[in-house]
């Protein structure tokens, strides 16, 4: 029951996060901002539209967004929540989660290359490069959590909050996960989710040719991915699974809100990094992860 509630919360509330981020950005920028439910309106509109599809494309273009959404949704099956463990959990399931996200990325990369557009090729090549660099950092984070909690599944290592939950070496982990959230979800300082036609784009430029239901898949898949990383960050710091159910849900949702606000604050306060600086950011995150891992192993 709890597992179902967690999944339902993810599938229903995920598009809300980008609404919150945009509202925070607008407020800080002194604007009123678009409605908080804008992503839901967008999705509803896209689903009801037809599509314009490039003559260059083949079946890959149509399948890519579907695979991408399906793989991200499947990754959510492995995510524990405030109510209890994940729907499916086993030792090493974090690897399946990471590879599901990989499959999701490959779907979009191939769909982008299928259009034959130079812009989308550019986005695809950058996405492939940065994701490959982010992957070891993510694994190091999971290893940190695994060493700290002696659990090898996501359900065992997240949200349980052993006595060392606030230990100094563990405090790095949410920070690194937050950096990964920014990287994987194409947020400032790695990518800019607002501009469409700038040569520095990664994610948005890959999906230039998608429209209608395909675009809906991509937008919804991106929301789910943001939810996934937000939940990882929240659960790695808050011991929600030890709380009584109601306060656990409250703390978890509060944590998600805080993550969204933090993303908004980062986006308002920073400019996008130059492309060659991104690996340094990831390298720093990786070094931090390695450091906290060594500290934990040492203990």
């Amino acid at each position: 029951m709890n597992t179902l509630a967690q999944l339902l919360a993810a599938f229903v509330l995920a598009p809300l996060l980008s609404g919150i981020i945009n509202r925070v950005k607008a407020r800080i920028g002194g604007r009123a901002g678009r409605p908080i439910l804008q992503t839901y309106y967008d999705l509803a509109k896209l689903v009801r539209k037809g599509a314009v599809i490039s003559r260059t494309t083949s079946w890959v273009f149509a399948t890519g967004p579907a695979v991408s959404l399906a793989a991200t949704a499947a990754a959510l099956l492995l995510l524990p929540g405030p109510g209890g463990p994940a729907a499916i959990g086993f030792s090493g399931d974090f690897m399946l989660m990471a590879y599901c996200l990989g499959l999701s990325r490959l779907g979009l990369i191939l769909a982008a290359l299928d259009t034959g557009s130079s812009f989308e090729g550019m986005g695809a090549s950058r996405e492939a490069a940065f994701a490959a660099l982010a992957e070891p950092v993510l694994f190091l984070c999971f290893l940190c959590l695994a060493t700290d909690t002696s659990g090898l599944s996501l359900s065992a290592m997240l949200g349980t909050g052993t006595d060392g939950a606030m230990a100094p070496q563990r405090l790095f982990v949410p920070a690194i996960l937050f950096v990964l959230l920014l990287t994987e979800n194409s947020r400032i300082p790695v990518d800019d989710p607002n501009t469409h036609l700038e040569l520095t784009m990664i994610h948005e430029v890959m999906v230039l040719d998608h429209s209608g239901p395909d675009m809906a898949c991509i937008v919804y898949g991106a929301s789910l991915k943001l939810w996934l990383f937000g939940a990882l960050t929240t659960l790695s710091v808050l011991p929600v699974r030890q709380m009584p159910p109601l306060s656990a849900w409250g703390t978890f949702l509060g944590g998600m809100f805080a993550v969204a606000v933090a993303v908004g604050l980062v986006e308002s306060g920073m400019a996008r990094l130059r492309m060659e600086r991104v690996p340094r950011l990831l390298g720093a995150a990786g070094a931090l992860a390695a450091l906290s891992l060594v500290l934990m192993v040492w203990r």
Partner: protein, 664 residues
């Protein structure tokens, strides 16, 4: 065992038949038929007995040492599986590609000898996996190592092909020298040549300098498997060979290196602590450098060759984990590491075989496998495109295919070691997991590049635009291998249990905890399979919904959105060099990319040329200079080789006198 014998005889018949029919079209039917029949009978022999059974068959032969000892045990059967599956597929594919009015190379029909050596290769591979005696093993190893030289040099009127065959021959023999030294030292220390006797002698501690023997085995078998730095022959030999031969070499022959290392570890008995770590480090270094260089390549077959290097590295990682686990008494890690290595080899054989055969179809249709000449082939060669995408998904280790299951087993083996005693082993294991993740990430990028640039987008050349689809006979092996891959994805837990049989038969492993660890891993794969099933079901559901929505709201076909640019051409697409540019900016050195920009001087250059090449830096900087020195030294010795016969007779006389003087 009888069926195994029948398959050997069929290979022999195919070989001799093809040789007798040289110059006739029939050679191209008899040769492949022998290989196909032998492989199918061999497959039957693998599956007709329970995987855990072991058999032995000994015949005396005329040589002063050794016996003709053949036997099948779980490890042999599992490593024979790729030989037979790929042997069947590659025979059919080769028959299709060499069939019909064969373009004459050097004015003669080479197909008879080609099929002779193809069958000999299969025969040699089968004997290598079945040999139970050091001398017999070395003879089989030589047969297996020599045949590819002739297979690679099918089109020997091309200079690259001759050079590649030559590099292969040198690498194969330098490796073989180490192996002969390995077995000779073993024989000198123990006085026996049978594998069982050798293992018993080693276990009783009659082996001085076991570490040196391990090093010899690692070098000899590593040269075959393509571990860094002995991988240099792979990226040369695979592109030069005909595609069905590349598939066979990459899928089955280099696995023989891993198999040999496996046997060597069995024979050497209790391992020194550093062996496992050496294998782990070497495996990861091989995997990382292999996949980074694969990413850099602009030629599909070179890319696939480097990816083979990567995958053999992962298999080596599994062997290393097995060693460390056995040495520290961590049976979970040992069983999963060894089973993971075998599982990975099986996966790699199926995926890489399929990918090389697809590359062969591309070469056949377009006349080139350079990504700069391809593009948009998915529409013209739909089956080949779909098969290549399937193989790419698998080799990148993505769910729902069994490539993911293989990597997951390796990761589980690593995870079972993060509580090893001591700081360094734990850090080592964590580093190994991070490296495995990086390999996965780069593999995704490399195969997104290969599949995306070759099969998607617009054709980059007229040849690619007019590519003709392959014939039905050529598609059959592709579909067969694709079917194998889908079956492996559906039955991944069972495949793991099968691979586990080899691990359970590994000496020095406590079977009860190892069996428990394998059962647990199979359960994990079952759960992961559930998620994979979820992905497939959800994808189908979304696609169904999409088609319903689109039929309701309509689809319009337009050109690709050019961002306002009105004269796009296929040349503005991202290409092989540009796709890897972001990665190359960070990792230029390990990727081995070299980039040269020639531009007119001044503020408004009229002409510019950008050349991006990806030569093997190790070959360029280390092996080429080394062999030049060797060649110069040998040239200096030519003073004694002047062609004057009377002086030669003097040499003979002097030798005889010297020998007599020494003996008397």
């Amino acid at each position: 065992m009888e069926l195994f014998g029948v398959s050997l005889v069929l290979y022999l018949l195919g070989a001799l038949g093809a040789l007798c029919l040289t110059g006739r079209e029939a050679a191209n039917r008899v040769g492949p038929a022998g290989a196909l029949a032998g492989s199918l009978v061999g497959l039957a022999s693998v599956f007709s007995t329970p995987a855990s059974a072991a058999s032995l068959f000994v015949l005396p032969w005329g040589l002063p040492i050794g016996d003709l000892a053949l036997g099948l045990d779980p490890a042999s059967r599992l490593f024979l599986l790729p030989v037979y599956v790929l042997g069947a597929a590659c025979a059919v594919s080769g028959a299709a590609s060499l069939g019909g009015p064969h373009e004459e190379h050097c004015g003669q029909d080479r197909r008879g000898p080609h099929w002779f050596f193809f069958n000999v290769l299969l025969l040699g591979l089968s004997l290598v996996m079945a040999a139970r005696d050091a001398v017999c093993f070395l003879v089989a190893w030589e047969i297996m190592s020599l045949a590819p030289f002739f297979l690679i040099s099918l089109h020997d009127d091309e200079v690259e092909v001759r050079e590649a065959a030559w590099i292969y021959l040198v690498a194969a023999h330098l490796g073989a020298v180490c192996l002969i030294a390995f077995f000779a030292a073993f024989w000198a220390a123990t006085g026996v040549t049978g594998f069982d006797a050798l293992a018993i002698a080693a276990r009783q501690g009659q082996l001085p300098g076991a570490s040196l023997l391990f090093f010899l085995a690692l070098t000899g078998f590593g040269a075959k498997a393509g571990f860094v730095p002995f991988h240099v022959w792979l990226p040369e030999a695979h592109p030069a060979a005909p595609s069905h031969v590349s598939a066979m070499l990459s899928g089955a022959m280099i696995s023989a290196g891993v198999y040999g290392l496996w046997r060597a570890l069995e024979l050497l008995g209790p391992a020194a602590p550093w062996w496992g770590w050496a294998l782990l480090g070497l495996g990861l270094a091989t995997a990382l450098s292999g996949i980074l260089q694969a990413l850099a390549q602009g030629n599909i077959k070179r890319l696939l060759a480097y990816s083979s290097v990567e995958n053999m590295g992962l298999a080596c990682l599994g062997l290393g984990l097995g060693c460390i686990g056995r040495q520290t008494g961590n049976e979970t890690m040992a069983a999963l590491g060894l089973a993971g290595a075998v599982f990975h080899v099986l996966n790699h054989a199926a995926f890489k075989g399929l990918l090389f055969l697809c590359a062969g179809e591309v070469l056949h249709a377009v006349g080139s496998v350079r990504l700069a000449h391809l593009g948009g082939l998915g529409k013209r060669l739909p089956v080949v495109g779909a098969c290549f995408t399937l193989g790419a998904l698998g080799i990148a280790g993505l769910p729902p295919l069994s490539g993911f299951a293989g990597e997951l087993v390796l990761a589980l083996a690593i995870l079972s070691g993060i509580d090893l005693p001591g700081l360094l082993p734990r850090v080592g294991m964590s580093g190994a997991l991070a490296a495995l993740a990086a390999v996965g990430g780069f593999a995704l990028a490399a195969f997104a590049k290969a599949a995306g640039l070759a099969f998607l987008g617009e054709p980059r050349t007229p040849a690619a635009a007019n590519a003709a689809p392959a014939g039905r006979l050529a598609l059959a092996p592709l579909l067969f291998l694709a079917g194998c891959i889908l079956a492996a994805a559906a039955f991944a837990p069972m495949l793991l249990s099968l691979a586990g049989q080899a691990a359970l038969a590994f000496p020095g492993l406590d079977p009860a905890p190892a069996r428990a660890a394998l059962a647990q891993a199979a359960d994990i794969l079952q759960s992961a399979g559930l998620v994979c099933l979820g992905i497939v079901a959800l994808t189908l559901a979304v696609l169904f919904l999409r088609s319903r929505l689109l039929t309701a709201h309509g689809v319009r076909r337009e050109g690709t959105w050019g961002c306002g640019y009105t004269a796009p051409s296929s040349r503005i697409q991202y290409g092989a060099g540009s796709f890897v540019e972001p990665t190359a900016k960070i990792l230029r050195l390990p990727m081995g990319l070299s980039r040269r920009l020639d531009m007119d001087a001044g503020y408004f250059p009229a002409r510019g040329t950008l050349t991006v090449t990806s030569p093997d830096q190790l070959k360029l900087r280390f092996f080429t200079p080394l062999f030049e020195v060797v060649a110069r030294t040998c040239d200096a010795l030519k003073v004694v080789q002047h062609g004057r016969v009377h002086l030669y007779i003097l040499y003979v006389l002097a030798t005889v006198v010297l020998l007599l003087a020494w003996k008397l």
